[in-house]
């Protein structure tokens, strides 16, 4: 038979066309199913992870991040490309199935797509295939010629993956061409045979191919037709079965990695989801030591990584040359999983991860800033994994000496400096401060509605005590009835937990929770974003907590606070978003509103701000760790401020203050750049009308706003 007819009727093969294509279907699907089943093996062996709650919220995330490609535009060009490709894939899915089924069932038409709707669909998908094809060409060109830095693979992490990437881009391009050629040759053939001709979208790839081949003899058209068909089917199934071996697996897993992604920010997973706190003593081993200690969702994350490098591109540890890049954390684990749970061959339990694919410094280097998680379009989680790996190292006693001292001090004295408990409130007894402000200690003799949770660094560090005093003065000025816990307050334990010392954290948390409850306060305010995050997310059953910037911002909104004018006209201020106030808790606007309420204050935004803010270097125990790095995060940040035209950096976190002030010296910018805390700045500009006369007793200035 000469002419164009359904591939299922072709007889050019050794076996009837229908049988051939059916066989390919069966083999392809069976192969894929087998591969996926093998890929699921480590998930089955992994730790449990309850991700099946709140289905509506999860579906919402799928809409926003999967369907809506919400994170992609953060890198504009690549994002645009991907949105086009993704949309194209979605649109083409039905068409692809139709094409495949036509090979076994001639005349098959997808239900709902007969008639007019079918023709419209075909026109749309003609363009979709064209756009996808063009995107493949652009993407390949970009990879090969422009070589964006974030795709580079440093030698220690392995070989460049550009070849594989281009290979896959090529295959998809082939798929588009095969599909288009099939459509073009069908249309051209039907035209020849005076049969109804499928309309092809003008200027689409099938349309152009049809013009190119339109004048060929019918026999040639037929050969092109069934060849294109075979190529399409084989390529389709090859891609299907090849994807689970690399980063393209994200095509299948992304829906799940996003559906099952973490719903709460700033929280940490418990040591074991299926073991309550009281039973933790019975757990033999804490943390992640081997691959199977990860939860199934974490392993799914390893599969879902698209190797796009956006995480590492934003990781401050990576930027300063620490041995950590989130991207490779994931890829190395994925490769480990592929190697030890192969598709062909037996699964085997391999070496411990630390000392194997990961080095200790790699895992200690993370400041938990969250930039990686903020950036990842697949919502891969990192902080929980790092904390779990740290838990494992702590469990094995494998802790750098520099961290052992502050951990021991935290255990003995409740603060990393080893200072005595009775000196915790000494900051409030500074001579000048005492004259005008009295800070209550909520110890049974005193009570108040609000607790000012000061935390360790603000209490004990000579420089940071000024933040405590400024905050107290502000609270007093705002008429808040507040007090502090004094010696009864231990470190919030925020970094203790994030460095993997879960038991010590729980001891600190329980102690503080009891002290807070005993004080009877209804509300907590803090000037320390790490304490804020701990009280908000790590602690249970404590009163609601606010950061001081929120308290001030509320007064600003209500118009019930006035600030004096900025005196020095030369000062240009840049606000640095602390990771645990900004990114993790999304408090970006309140501190800015406070600054903008100061008359005459000139403020600029750094290039990296809000959820792209660049970590200062980390807080808590991170200040004691001695990382291997080429330079400091703080120095990079200070240079960003200078680039933005600022000469004052405003921080809202005592740890940011330590790192920034230090960095100003190291960068040699003393005299050209200074740093000030938000509370100190506000304190300087409060308009106080001191209407109480100073008597022999200390009194708080209560009026003036």
């Amino acid at each position: 038979m000469v002419g164009i007819y359904s591939p299922s009727l072709s007889s050019e093969w050794l076996v009837p066309g229908r049988n051939l294509f059916l066989t390919i279907h069966v083999l392809g699907i069976a192969c894929f199913a087998y591969i996926v089943a093998k890929r699921l093996v480590p998930l089955v062996r992994a730790e449990s992870d309850p991700r099946f709650d709140r289905p509506l919220t999860r579906l919402g995330k799928v809409f926003k991040f999967w369907l809506g490609q919400w994170k992609h535009p953060r890198y504009r060009f690549a994002g645009a490309l991907h949105i086009l490709i993704f949309t194209g894939f979605l649109l083409l899915a039905t068409r692809a199935f139709s094409v495949l089924i036509v090979g076994v069932s001639s005349g098959f038409v997808m239900p709902g797509l007969s008639g007019e709707s079918g023709r419209v669909y075909d026109l749309i998908t003609d363009y979709a295939a064209t756009i996808v094809f063009l995107c493949m060409v652009v993407a390949a060109f970009r990879r090969l010629v422009f070589k964006p830095a974030r795709y580079a693979v440093p030698a220690k992490y392995g070989k460049s993956r550009t070849g594989d990437a281009v290979f896959l881009l090529g295959l998809i391009a082939v798929l588009m061409v095969a599909d288009s050629l099939f459509a073009a040759s069908s249309a051209a053939g039907h035209a020849r045979q005076d049969q109804p001709v499928e309309a092809l979208a003008i200027l689409s790839l099938p349309w152009m191919l049809k013009i190119a081949i339109g004048s060929m003899p019918l026999a040639t058209l037929w050969v092109l037709n069934i060849t294109a068909y075979l190529v399409h089917e084989v390529t389709f199934y090859f891609l299907l079965c090849y994807r689970p071996f690399g980063i393209q697996f994200h095509v299948e897993t992304s829906l799940f990695s996003i559906y099952f992604s973490k719903l709460e920010r700033g929280t940490l997973k418990p040591v074991r989801w299926d073991v309550p706190d009281e039973h933790l003593d019975q757990v033999k081993s804490f943390g992640v030591k081997t691959f199977e200690d990860f939860t199934w969702k974490h392993i799914l994350d390893f599969y879902s990584c698209a190797d796009c490098g956006r995480c590492a591109d934003n990781c401050p540890a990576n930027a300063v040359g620490r041995p950590l890049a989130p991207r490779f954390l994931t890829i190395k684990a994925r490769d480990y999983g592929f190697h030890h749970y192969p598709v062909l061959g037996k699964a085997n339990n391999g070496k411990p991860l630390i000392g194997g694919i990961y080095s200790e410094d790699e895992i200690w280097s993370c400041t938990t800033c969250g930039a990686c998680e903020e950036e990842c379009p697949l919502l891969v989680e990192y902080i929980d994994k790092i904390v779990d790996l740290r838990r494992g190292m702590i469990d094995d006693g494998n802790v750098p000496q520099s961290l052992q001292k502050p951990l021991k001090a935290l255990e003995n004295r409740g603060n990393p400096y080893g200072k005595m408990e009775k000196k915790k409130a000494d900051w409030a007894k500074a001579e000048e401060f005492r004259q005008t402000s009295k800070v209550k200690t909520l110890d049974g003799n005193n009570s108040a509605g609000t607790l000012y949770f000061v935390d360790s660094i603000t209490s004990y560090d000579d420089r940071m005590q000024s933040i405590g005093r400024s905050t107290s003065r502000i609270l007093g000025h705002l008429g808040e009835d507040f007090g502090i816990l004094g010696a009864a307050e231990k470190d919030s334990g925020h970094e203790v937990r994030r460095f993997g010392e879960e038991m010590l954290f729980m001891a600190l948390r329980d102690h503080n929770t009891n002290a807070i409850k005993a004080s009877g306060v209804k509300r907590i305010v803090t000037s320390d974003p790490h304490a804020y995050n701990a009280l908000k997310h790590d602690y249970k059953d404590v009163p609601p907590v606010e950061h001081i910037s929120q308290v001030i911002a509320r007064k600003v909104r209500a118009g019930s606070i006035q600030f004096s004018r900025v005196e020095n006209e030369d000062k240009v201020y840049a606000y640095h978003d602390p990771c645990y106030l900004g990114r993790h808790n999304q408090i970006y606007d309140e501190p800015r509103a406070v600054l903008d309420a100061i008359p005459g204050l000139k403020r600029v935004e750094m290039k990296r701000s809000r959820d792209r803010s660049f970590c200062c270097g980390g807080g808590g125990l991170m200040l004691f760790y001695e990382p291997k790095e080429e330079q400091r995060m703080g120095v990079l940040r200070v240079r960003m401020a200078a680039e933005a035209g600022a000469n004052v950096i405003v921080t809202a976190c005592p740890f940011c203050m330590v790192n920034i002030e230090d960095a100003i010296k190291v960068a040699g910018l003393e005299g050209k750049m200074s740093a000030i805390d938000l509370t100190e700045l506000v304190d300087q500009h409060l308009i106080r009308e001191v209407c109480t006369e100073k008597t022999d007793e200390l009194e708080t200035a209560t009026c003036g706003g």
Partner: protein, 328 residues
């Protein structure tokens, strides 16, 4: 009153400073009887060492034995057990050798032992009252030692100023034959000399020395800049080496190098005695420390209470400025 002996530490033919310090200690215990020096060793230089002690010690006992050519505490102990009269008081410097020798020796001669003594109050009947420190030097303690069966007393190096002793005529006694064959189940093999490092701090007459007060490794550069401006070298205390901010070759102290500069700037150094033990020759010491109660201010000539991280750059600028002016 029992006889008082001093164990003499000597290296390469030179007598250690502790020998002179021990005579001062002996005088404080009993000013009436000049102490006896005990010198062990082997070889040509031994006689010279003994002779040099004649002016400060009443007697010098020489023990020459080939096994003692290197001061192995186990062997020296055997020698001392052979020659020390019962119930003697033996003074030993509390250094790496004294720590090794004295506790075991006190058991073998069945005497009391008091380590790291830095003050002698005097004899009260059967007891000797002395002063020690505890808790890393944070508190001092008076200690009473029963000397009825003698005592081995380790003396903190540098704690006692050598006194000007009136010349005494004395004699060297050769006690070598009283010591039998010496065998020990601990044998000296070799000494591994600390890596020379790029800078030999013992050769510099001005040292900018840093301690924990520098806060972190990156600040070491501030000291290096000052040293460069002065033409000096940077040295440090032990915690700086432990924290890996500087190489061991830069450490001044009892477990580091001994230096004899003209000027010593102690920057952010608290003044622990182990560090001070490495400073000899009474240099002019200028101390900068944030803590007005730091022990360094007790031994320094000039002190400044200031943040060393702020003061050093100021000083460096001043030095550059003043030297620049002079150069014009």
């Amino acid at each position: 009153m029992a006889r008082i002996f001093s164990y003499i530490v000597h290296r390469g033919g030179t007598v250690d400073d502790s020998a002179a310090e021990l005579t001062a200690v002996a005088r404080k215990i009993d000013p009436t009887v000049p102490p006896t020096a005990i010198v062990t060793g082997w070889g040509a230089g031994l006689d010279a060492v003994c002779s040099s002690l004649l002016s400060s010690y009443g007697e010098v006992w020489k023990v020459a034995n080939e096994a003692l050519s290197y001061p192995n505490a186990e062997l020296v102990r055997q020698a001392l057990v052979s020659i020390l009269p019962a119930n003697s008081i033996l003074l030993v410097p509390h250094d790496h050798f004294g720590i090794d020798l004295s506790p075991g020796l006190s058991i073998k001669v069945n005497s009391a032992f008091v380590p790291d003594v830095l003050g002698i109050d005097g004899i009260e009947g059967d007891s000797l009252r002395l002063v020690r420190q505890e808790f890393g030097g944070q508190v001092s303690a008076h200690v009473r030692c029963d000397i009825s069966s003698g005592a081995v007393i380790n003396v903190r190096p540098g704690a006692f100023k050598p006194e000007q002793v009136t010349p005494i005529s004395s004699v060297v006694f050769d006690k070598s034959s009283a010591v039998g064959t010496l065998t020990a189940r601990r044998r000296y093999l070799e000494t591994i000399v600390a890596e020379a490092g790029d800078v030999d701090i013992t050769k510099h007459s001005v040292l900018v020395s840093i301690g924990r007060g520098m806060q972190e490794k990156d600040n070491v550069g501030l000291a290096e800049e000052l040293a460069e401006a002065l033409g000096a070298a940077v040295s440090c205390s032990r915690p700086v080496v432990d924290a890996k901010w500087m190489e061991k070759s830069r450490q001044v102290g009892s477990s580091g190098k001994t230096v004899k500069p003209k000027v010593y700037l102690a920057c952010g150094i608290s003044g622990a005695f182990q560090h001070l033990a490495g400073i000899k020759g009474s240099p002019f010491i200028i101390a900068i420390n944030k803590n007005s109660k730091a022990p360094i201010f007790q031994v320094a000539d000039v002190g400044i209470v200031d943040d060393v991280l702020e003061f050093l750059p100021e000083l460096t600028n001043k030095v550059r400025e003043m030297r620049g002016v002079a150069a014009k």
